[in-house]
């Protein structure tokens, strides 16, 4: 069983501020972290490895310093990591990113066939949730997005059953391997790395693959391969809150409660209470 986990280094968005004048992200002094959706993805891969054995490879595309997130995954228990880093990969949107990642996975699978690819559901900096499906489509893998639980895995029949967490219900689907899963943040509780593993991961040299190695068409990668353009980033203006005050009149009605319900109805947050 060979599992590949795709991870990304992202700015800690809770610490990012938007420059009110230029409307761009102020990234100075903001620490970079492993995308919070990716840690559960790594954990899910490690759980598969714990049960079925095999190998977990971590893949990331980013600047040279992005090796930190690969080290973190290795500290958690992943076996190998590869960093895709090249200036020509830079500025990529989800289309170009998934192109590079998919081709890197093809390259990896030449040596060791890949059974499962796991991605986080989305990243906290882009929030598109497109890269995982993009990779699956390019590789022709089956895909199951929004997975919050692997129900069963049959290695001999090469079948996997997963539970998808949709807005109002769960969906349990079965598919055949190889396939790609994108993992929900609350699918599991990522393990805390041990210190010997951390020291081991710190001392590793993470191989870097650039385009000299992957030989991809420059028009399909990086900024040139990205049809998406960002026109403007802005923080939505906060609307002023309103306070309704009032005590119950003792007969089961209260002015404040009624006003709140009325407003919630008007904003279509709740259905009309009149008919209930």
């Amino acid at each position: 069983m060979h599992v590949i986990v795709c991870v990304k280094m992202v700015p800690d968005t809770t610490q990012v501020k938007i420059d009110p004048v230029t409307n761009t992200l102020v990234r100075e002094g903001v620490p970079f972290i492993m995308n919070p959706f990716d840690a559960p993805a790594v954990e899910e891969a490690l759980r598969i490895k714990d049960i079925y054995g095999g190998k977990v490879t971590v893949l990331s595309m980013g600047p040279p310093m992005a090796d930190a997130v690969i080290r973190k995954a290795i500290a958690m228990g992943a076996d190998d990591g590869i960093l895709l880093s090249d200036r020509v990969f830079g500025g990529a949107d989800t289309l170009a990113t998934s192109n590079v990642l998919a081709n890197a996975i093809l390259e990896i699978s030449k040596k060791e066939p890949v059974d499962i690819i796991i991605c986080g559901k989305q990243t906290i900096d882009g929030d598109t949730a497109q890269v995982g499906p993009g990779i699956a489509t390019r590789l022709g893998f089956n895909q199951a997005t929004l997975v919050d639980k692997i129900v069963s895995l049959d290695l001999t029949k090469k079948r996997i059953v997963v539970r998808r967490k949709l807005e109002d219900w769960f969906e349990i689907i079965e598919t055949s391997l190889p396939s790609l899963l994108t993992i929900e943040k609350d699918a599991n509780r990522p393990r805390y790395p041990s210190v010997p593993r951390r020291i081991y991961a710190e001392g590793l040299s993470i191989p870097i693959w650039n385009n000299y190695f992957l030989k991809l068409d420059p028009n399909t990668i990086g900024l040139t391969g990205s049809p998406t353009t960002v026109k403007r980033i802005f923080a939505p203006e906060k609307q002023k809150g309103e306070i309704f005050e009032g005590n119950g009149d003792g007969n089961g009605t209260c002015f404040a409660v009624e006003m709140i319900l009325k407003n919630l109805e008007n904003w279509k947050i709740i259905r009309s209470t009149q008919n209930v």
Partner: protein, 687 residues
């Protein structure tokens, strides 16, 4: 005494000595399984410690019943030379210690006679204590009764020997108790009968003595031998800081097996008499948690016995020192079986240090627990689940809640507090800490301190969003790896800013900055705010006001202040300075304070509702019927407020930090002054 008797005695004695010495050798061998630790410095001071705490039993006597032990001990000390004479006279019937001079010899014998009676009485008291009083922390073991009855009968045989001696006047000794017993019991017996009785008593005494000698190193009474060296090799100061660790490849971290401890730790385990004082003072145990510090140390001893004896029996007899690391240990250190420590109990400890403070022979319980935590966290990754988030938050965001570091200085936004800088010549750095920066309740405390500092025109600055967590809870929870990186960052930052003096409101930050960071090259002075306030009052920068005269205040000592850093008088002086009287004292106060329950990282652990420590302490505070519970630690404030809520206390009792009290005092003084002025104006207006 017939020659054949001497011969029989000599043989028995030699056998007993072989058994005894072999056992002592085994015990030394067991201790040598521990890691090397240098404890041979300041020998004269060590000797003095042994005299005061070993021979004069300074700590034993802190508890009332310790006097009984003191009497037993000194009874034995007096009887030691008499028994030496007894043993030698077993080989050489003519042998006597009378060569030391007539008067000293007579005195010695008289003292021995009296002390034997005292020892017998002490034995009776000890038995009564176990049978009648039955303190909960003292388990009556079979061993205890064996030893007590041996001692009792040994004394009885001693008197028996004395009163049946045919010609007592021959020795011309003054033996008041024996003389009294002689007239009571055996007046009128024939000399031949007396001789036979005398021989019987002599042999009973001899056998009990030799039995005692062998039994000591095999039982908990081993402390008779080990506690003196344990006092000698003690830590000179309270163990405020765990040792700094090195992190590199192929190392193991913390303690996972008995031989990972130092030799002194193992000597600790062998020095325990199971007196139960640690158990009786352990807040975790008292509130019903699993941890029992006495049992913890006793388990270490059992574990050492099982595994240590296994190791040394599998190597040549003359080998001594560290074992090869590949051995399989028959009994695991952590587990549920006999000789293993319950894993849950490791997380119960608040590191309050009451156990260490109270132990008569300087056993250090909680530092061992911390070392086990280190292993569980850093190698085994086995710890209460809620700690994952806590660890990650501190590592990524440098605060327990994972709030963005940029928010750290927010509390001071409208207060116009300068950012600490080299160029401004700020005298003090106010290290706010995570609680002061983010916790709503503690923000009020820090605000009060700011008011006081401004009133007193103290020159200070804060770090704002550059401040980082001090790492105390990480360290006490065993996450030394992350603590290490935080400590390095903090010390570097303080050095870069040329910080000379630091003020902190939190005793945990205080201890970490002051003691833990020493090993990281920190050279700045650290002041807890009660120390600074004390200075301000002493130098009359802050004026004395007596606004609180009406209200009764009980003061609770934070463990990390009182026990760890001996800050006891300062907060009391401050309280006295502005209320005019000393605060009320709880039963457990000053060095014997009782933890609020939040130390040792327990602030950040889920607490079983059934066994909350803060409830116990709040109850104790309420016994004093206070209007105000004063303390000087943000954790303690939180724990008391929760305690009052849990106990559904209806009366209006406030929990306040000392600096909040001062600010309230300032307000009242201002108000009364204002009233006076209004009154004055009125008077003037009226005529």
């Amino acid at each position: 005494m017939k020659p054949v008797e001497s011969l029989i005695f000599a043989i028995i004695f030699l056998v007993a000595m072989v058994v005894f010495i072999r056992r002592i050798y085994t015990l030394i061998n067991l201790i040598s399984l521990g890691n090397w630790e240098y404890r041979f410095d300041r020998l004269w001071e060590r000797f003095k410690n042994m005299v005061f705490y070993g021979f004069l039993q300074k700590k034993v006597l802190k508890k009332t019943f310790g006097f009984n032990h003191f009497m037993l001990f000194w009874g034995f000390m007096v009887l030691l030379p008499i028994n030496l004479e007894f043993v030698l006279s077993g080989f050489f019937p003519k042998f006597s210690l009378s060569f030391i001079g007539e008067f000293p010899y007579k005195l010695l014998n008289m003292l021995a006679d009296i002390m034997s009676a005292v020892v017998m009485i002490a034995v009776i008291f000890a038995v009564l204590r176990r049978v009648v009083i039955k303190p909960s922390y003292l388990e009556s073991t079979k061993e205890a009764y064996i030893i007590l009855s041996t001692v009792g009968f040994l004394m009885a045989a001693y008197f028996g020997m004395n009163i049946t001696a045919i010609d007592p006047k021959e020795k011309d000794l003054i033996l008041p108790v024996s003389e009294f017993l002689r007239t009571m019991i055996i007046s009128g017996m024939k000399d031949s009968e007396l001789y036979i009785l005398n021989r019987i008593f002599w042999w009973v005494h001899a056998s009990l003595f030799l039995f005692f000698l062998i039994f000591i190193p095999y039982s908990k009474h081993l402390h008779i031998i080990t506690s003196l060296p344990n006092c000698f090799f003690r830590n000179f100061s309270f163990p405020t800081s765990p040792s700094k660790m090195q992190f590199s490849k192929n190392m193991s971290f913390g303690i996972s097996k008995i031989t990972d401890f130092s030799w002194k730790d193992l000597l600790d385990a062998l020095s325990c008499t199971e007196c139960g004082r640690c158990k009786a003072s352990c807040p975790a145990n008292i509130s019903g948690k699993t941890l029992n510090p006495k049992e913890f140390i006793h388990t270490l001893k059992k574990n050492l016995m099982e595994n240590g004896l296994y190791i040394i029996s599998n190597r040549p007899f003359d080998t001594i020192g560290k074992p090869m690391p590949v051995l399989n240990y028959p009994v695991p250190l952590i587990g549920n079986g006999e000789g293993s420590i319950n894993e849950e109990s490791i997380w119960d400890c608040t590191t309050c240090g009451a156990c260490v403070e109270v132990c008569p022979v300087f056993i250090e319980h909680f530092p061992k627990i911390l070392n086990i935590r280190r292993n569980l966290v850093m190698e085994e990754v086995r710890f209460p689940e809620e700690l994952i988030t806590f660890f990650e938050n501190i590592e990524a965001r440098s605060n327990p809640w994972g709030i963005a570091p940029s928010e750290r200085g927010k509390w001071a936004q409208h207060l116009d507090i300068p950012i600490f800088s080299k160029n401004e010549n700020h005298e003090y750095l106010l290290y706010v800490g995570c609680m002061g920066s983010f916790d709503a309740r503690t923000k009020k405390i820090i605000n009060s301190l700011v008011t006081v500092l401004n009133t007193a025109s103290v020159s200070y600055g804060i770090l704002g969003s550059d401040e980082m967590c001090c790492g105390d809870a990480l360290r006490r929870l065993g996450n030394e790896y992350v603590f290490d990186s935080i400590a390095i960052k903090n010390v570097n930052l303080f050095k870069k800013l040329n910080v000379k003096n630091v003020i902190t409101i939190c005793p945990h930050c205080y201890n970490t900055l002051k003691n833990d960071y020493r090993a990281y090259g920190a050279e700045f002075n650290v002041f807890h705010h009660t120390e600074l306030l004390n200075m301000l009052y002493k130098n009359q920068v802050l004026k004395r006001d007596f606004a609180f005269g009406e209200k009764s205040i009980v003061y609770h000592d934070s463990c990390y202040l009182a026990r760890y850093n001996s800050i006891i008088e300062e907060p009391r002086y401050v309280l006295k300075s502005f209320t005019g009287k000393l605060p009320l004292e709880m039963g457990n106060s000053k060095k014997d304070t009782f933890c609020c329950g939040a130390g040792g990282g327990r602030m950040w652990l889920e607490d079983d509702a059934a066994t909350r420590i803060n409830r116990e302490r709040t109850k104790e505070a309420l016994l004093k019927k206070p209007n105000i519970i004063a303390t000087s630690c943000p954790y303690c404030v939180t724990m008391f407020e929760d305690g009052l809520k849990e106990l559904n206390v209806n009366e209006n009792i406030q929990v306040l930090d000392i600096c909040e009290l001062i600010v309230e005092g300032l307000k009242i003084v201002k108000d009364t002054e204002k009233e006076k002025i209004i009154e004055e104006k009125r008077r003037v207006a009226n005529g």
